[in-house]
């Protein structure tokens, strides 16, 4: 006997075995008990929820002479024959391959004849959505008033393709997706009966990956079992389902939260290199974000969905993210997911999505406060202008002369590096903030008006700390122009506020002087540390000296500083 897939071996044989569809099985059992079965049923629902199984059990129950509480006995001749698929009066038809009018006519003709051995003739028409329009219409009359010994059971995953005239002639049962909890306990049951051991998280991972389809779950379980000898491990389960670990997802979300694009991209590379299915990864990410969102509102619900696997990192993240941020993320992810189906470059889509996720959300949180801020600024400016205007009207025009005189003196001042301002920045400067700044620098310049942009083109950031930025200029002339242009410096600082969330102070330095400034800073820094160490050693030796003095008397002790 060849190996049979688990889902075939463990196909339910009684209504009680069908998991997760209690309302439907109860209704059918009551109908059977009361002998009120209809002549036509339509079973619809997603894959692997028990439609075909229910149809087969119903066929058995209708024909079983020893019906008990609506359950077939599974021992009598007809039950066994139906299980083996050999009873002539239960006819299973694959509508996908027999979808023409001719096949339906054949059914219609043969339905007239009485059953040979069982009390009822049962037609199970599977995948009924594939029937052609002509075939559906040919079936209509027979379906409305079949001979009293005929029962039709139609099953399909796509009820919207079945004409309404067919649906209205049948009793329709919608099978639901099976909950992860139910799948989990069913698998645990099967493994116990097969006397195999398992790791709990492994079954949980499978139950989640099955997405409500029992057959999916058992197919995956089958495959995991063939990987390993009678023991189900989490490692194998993850390998088969192509899922990523909760840990990695958490790290990725952490990177997204802190907006460290490089790290997020590195994690993505890891996933790619491990040969994981990209669709699966994005699905996992969406689920993770969904869970974060749910956890903010209803923690118990997440514990239920995730079957109790909520770790500390998850809890932390659920506090870190705001709800709008999560909506936005899910939008981006599901957008990429849609595109992913039609491409052979899934990695690029994911990289684009990752970079997008790691960008600060301008349109979301920043937008509203920014507008109000700008509004108040504008109001202030208007009042200032009004004041100036009234001043001008009273005093006449003598300011312009002053204004032209000023820049000249200023330019001379600013041509040299402002060492006092630079050193504090250098104290706190980090490579990370410089990188961050460099990544937004071009974008920042794009936001300036063309004139200012042209001025700033000759510049580049050379050092940065959270509080300040040092920007070097190619030419002294431009430097002078730039630093005298207070409006532009303000615009730059505002732009930085928008792009990276902080508004560091901007300090200009000529490019020729920058190496000297840095050098002198390093020297001073070194001297500074030396001084402190010297001071430390001195204070350390002091107790020794005082002890020596107390031992030998101060006259005999000579302190030599080497």
């Amino acid at each position: 006997m060849a190996y049979q897939a688990l889902y075939r071996v463990w196909r339910p044989q009684r209504f009680a075995d069908i998991v997760g569809q209690e309302t439907i099985t109860q209704t059918l059992r009551n109908a059977l008990d009361a002998h009120q079965t209809s002549h036509a049923y339509l079973f619809t629902g997603p894959r692997g929820t028990g439609k075909t199984s229910a149809a087969k059990i119903l066929a058995k129950a209708i024909n079983c002479p020893n019906l008990k509480a609506g359950e077939p006995c599974n021992h009598c001749e007809s039950c066994r024959a139906i299980t083996a698929g050999t009873l002539n009066d239960v006819i299973e038809i694959d509508a996908a391959s027999n979808n023409g009018v001719d096949e339906i006519r054949d059914i219609r003709d043969k339905a007239k004849y009485a059953p040979t051995s069982a009390p009822y003739k049962v037609y199970i028409i599977d995948e009924v959505h594939m029937l052609s329009t002509g075939a559906f219409n040919a079936l209509l009359k027979t379906l409305e008033e079949p001979p009293s010994h005929v029962v039709f059971i139609l099953a399909t995953t796509e009820p919207h393709k079945v004409p309404l005239t067919i649906i209205s002639r049948t009793q329709r049962f919608d099978f639901q997706r099976i909950s992860a909890q139910a799948i989990y306990s069913r698998m645990a049951d099967i493994l116990k009966q097969k006397e195999m051991t398992f790791e709990e998280p492994a079954l949980k991972a499978i139950a989640k990956a099955a997405e409500g389809g029992m057959r999916d779950a058992l197919s995956i379980l089958d495959q995991v079992l063939s990987f390993s000898d009678n023991h189900v491990t989490l490692k194998n389960a993850l390998q088969v389902t192509g899922s990523t670990t909760q840990q990695l997802l958490g790290d990725y979300m952490q990177a997204v939260h802190t907006q460290t694009t490089t790290k997020a991209l590195k994690l993505l590379q890891q996933v790619l290199a491990a040969g994981k299915d990209m669709g699966r990864f994005i699905e996992d990410l969406i689920e993770y974000s969904r869970d974060l969102l749910l956890y903010q509102q209803a923690p118990q619900m997440v514990e239920q969905i995730e079957l109790g696997t909520v770790d500390g990192q998850f809890k932390q993240l659920s506090q870190d993210f705001t709800a709008p941020a999560l909506y936005w993320m899910i939008d981006i992810l599901s957008d990429s997911q849609k595109q992913l189906r039609f491409t052979n470059h899934p990695d690029i889509y994911l990289e684009v999505a990752t970079v997008k996720l790691c960008q600060p959300q301008k349109q979301q949180s920043a937008a509203v406060p920014n507008v109000t801020k700008q509004l108040t600024q504008l109001k202030e400016e208007i009042t200032q202008l009004k004041q100036q205007l009234s001043q001008l009207q009273t005093q006449g025009i003598k300011q312009p002369i002053k204004a032209t005189a000023k820049p000249k003196t200023r330019r001379k001042e600013t041509q040299h590096a402002n060492v006092a301002a630079i050193f504090p920045v250098l104290d706190q400067a980090t490579k990370a903030s410089l990188d961050q700044l460099k990544s937004v620098w071009t974008e920042l310049l794009q936001q300036l008006p063309p004139q200012q942009r042209a001025l700033m083109h000759a510049s580049k950031p050379v050092a940065a700390s959270p509080e300040g930025v040092v920007v070097s200029f190619d030419s002294d002339f431009l430097l002078g122009r730039a630093s005298s242009n207070q409006a532009m410096v303000d615009a730059l600082e505002n732009g930085l506020d928008r792009l990276i969330g902080t508004a560091p102070k901007i300090i200009f330095v000529p490019q020729e002087e920058w190496p000297q400034v840095r050098q002198s800073y390093i020297e001073q820094h070194r001297r500074g540390t030396q001084k402190t160490t010297e001071a430390k050693t001195k204070s350390k030796t002091a107790p020794v000296i005082s002890q020596a003095k107390s031992l030998f008397g101060s006259d005999y002790v000579e302190v030599k500083d080497d």
Binding site: R47, T52, A96, S226, G242, G275, T343, H345, I348, V352
Partner: protein, 328 residues
């Protein structure tokens, strides 16, 4: 490359599965091109039919093996799409064959290549066979795009994911096969198959194409409108065949991907490692949102090409979009 070296883990897995007689009746082999899906399917057929199996390995020289390898075995049926889809005639033939028992032995192996190319009708027709196949009938479907298969098909099969050869390893192999290091990195990004890489390298279009695309991209990044003219004068004449046209867009995407990688300081896995300085100047010139935009345009262009928009139109539109996007 032999399948034993390409996918040693999977071979081992199937050896033990067949040994324990746990071979399932339906498998879906999913993974990128050139990862040995078809080869593994053939290997399983050899393993099942070979009369001199030693330590779980078929000898490959006996009569049965020879017939399978030459495609003449009556009980090993291979179906591959002719053109763009698996034709209805092929599926009809397949269905007929599925209901018959083996000619010479009791077991039969069916291999359906590129199963995602099946029409909806054909796929639905297979559902019932897949759910309860006749005893000792083994169906192996291979696909490069698992997402395009019906979910009802996938749920009836055991899915085997084929992972790519780690890229550094592939590059080493390409180098060993006498391909220049610079080109090796690029080829490794474009294909997983050593034979395909060699073929492209030897072809008359690959090297000039690389140069022309590079020139075009340079014009784009410098916002030089000459890029538009390049499409007609340089690129279109070279890319007359469909598969070459696809390569053009792949090259563009890889270039953009590299610029993105350089922008975020990830320089280990570039397609154009020798042009790093050029890439970093481009990366400095462009803002991240602009780059994202360019990538999305390029991806969209690929979609148009798949939807049978003419190549020149697609690329010209892409060029205009890229130029416009860098201007504002």
């Amino acid at each position: 490359m032999k399948i034993e070296t390409l996918q040693p883990k999977l071979i081992k897995l199937f050896q033990s599965v067949i040994e324990r007689k746990q071979l399932s009746q339906g498998y879906l082999f999913s993974g990128p091109a050139g990862t040995g899906k078809g080869e593994l399917a053939t290997w399983i057929a050899l393993r099942l039919f070979c009369q001199h199996v030693k330590n779980g390995v078929p000898d490959g020289t006996c009569r049965e093996c020879q017939r399978i390898l030459s495609g003449n075995h009556p009980d090993v049926v291979k179906i591959a799409p002719e053109g763009n889809s698996l034709k209805i005639d092929q599926i009809r033939y397949l269905k007929q064959e599925l209901t018959k028992s083996g000619m010479e032995t009791n077991q039969r192996v069916f291999i359906i290549q590129d199963a995602d190319k099946m029409t909806v009708g054909a796929a639905n027709g297979l559902l019932k066979f897949l759910e309860e196949p006749a005893p000792q009938t083994y169906l192996i479907l291979t696909t490069t795009a698992k997402g395009q298969l019906l979910p009802t098909i996938i749920s009836r099969l055991q899915i085997v994911e084929f992972s790519q050869l780690p890229r550094p390893q592939l590059i080493e192999q390409l180098k060993a096969a006498g391909i220049k290091p610079a080109t090796a990195a690029l080829l490794a990004h474009m294909t997983n198959s050593l034979t395909a890489a060699k073929e492209w390298q030897a072809s008359n279009w690959f090297v000039p194409l690389q140069e022309k695309v590079w020139q075009w991209f340079n014009h784009i990044q410098n916002q030089n409108a000459l890029a538009f003219i390049d499409v007609q004068t340089q690129l279109s004449p070279l890319a007359k065949e469909r598969h070459v046209q696809e390569k053009v867009l792949s090259l563009v995407l890889l270039l953009l991907q590299d610029v993105l990688a350089v922008q975020f300081g990830q320089t280990e896995d570039l397609s154009f490692p020798e042009a790093r300085s050029q890439l970093s100047t481009w990366a400095e010139q462009i803002t991240t949102p602009q780059l994202m935009n360019q990538l999305q345009q390029a991806l969209a262009a690929q979609k148009y090409l798949n939807a049978n928009v003419s190549f020149q139109n697609t690329l010209e539109q892409l060029t205009l979009h890229l130029l416009a996007k860098s201007n504002d």
